[in-house]
């Protein structure tokens, strides 16, 4: 059964204090690993898709990396506006139309100034 585990559940950082969020997964043939950001009262907002081990993607202060067993979301010099819940999800093979994303429970990040 496909499974996604995120750690830590909650993370408090000072502004400028870099850190990483972890997403470990078990999936029968990874088709894609996705990172989303969710603000309170809103729907998840797409950040990155990673397809194969060794792949990296960056967006502003965020950098996502992927190995065969886990993904990291690195946050460099975070600002208070980076505070949100970060969700990791996987899509397994074989892919067919309508294949669901399996989500982890998220990491809630709080950045204080």
């Amino acid at each position: 059964e496909d499974q996604v585990t995120q750690s830590p559940e909650a993370l408090r950082l000072q502004e400028g204090e870099s850190s990483s969020l972890n997403c470990s997964y078990t999936v029968s043939g990874l088709r894609g690993l996705f990172w989303y950001r969710q603000d309170p009262g809103k729907g998840p907002e797409f950040l990155f898709t990673l397809y194969s081990a060794g792949e990296e993607k960056e967006k502003e202060r965020l950098k996502a990396t992927l190995t065969k067993k886990e993904s990291f979301l690195h946050i460099t010099a975070p600002k208070p506006e980076d505070s949100a819940t970060y969700l990791c999800a996987v899509q397994g093979a074989p892919f067919q139309a309508g294949t669901a994303l399996i989500f982890g429970k998220g990491t809630t990040l709080s950045v204080s100034s």
Partner: protein, 112 residues
């Protein structure tokens, strides 16, 4: 223009009532989904439709019935609401050879 829109945003109702949530997407995507997010923010798939055809129907009480009149719309009807149905329900859409989903802003359902 909102890509995936859900109505209503908030829904407060009594136990035993029947209610519907509507979802529309203007992205031209072929596949639409309903997810339930519980109080611990865990997102779990409920249903998936591809081009109006039901693809995924997870272990959900049969009080929940999705309907897709066309590929741009996916509605969720819930009969005989129970306290445990209280949650945030998200609609999402993706391309057939999907690259992640686009989510709506959610419907917060409270059953009292």
């Amino acid at each position: 223009d909102t890509a995936v829109s859900q109505t209503p945003k908030y829904l407060v109702t009594q136990m035993g009532n029947d209610k519907s949530i509507k979802c529309e997407q203007n992205l031209g995507h072929d596949t639409m989904y309903w997810y339930k997010q519980d109080s611990k923010k865990f997102l779990k798939i409920m249903f998936s439709y591809n081009n109006k055809e039901l693809i995924i129907n997870e272990t959900v009480p049969n009080r929940f019935s999705p309907k897709s009149p066309d590929k741009a719309h996916l509605n969720l009807h819930i009969n005989s609401l129970e306290l445990g149905d209280s949650a945030v329900y998200f609609c999402a859409s993706s391309q057939r050879q999907g690259n992640g989903y686009t989510f709506g802003s959610g419907t917060r359902l409270t059953v009292v």
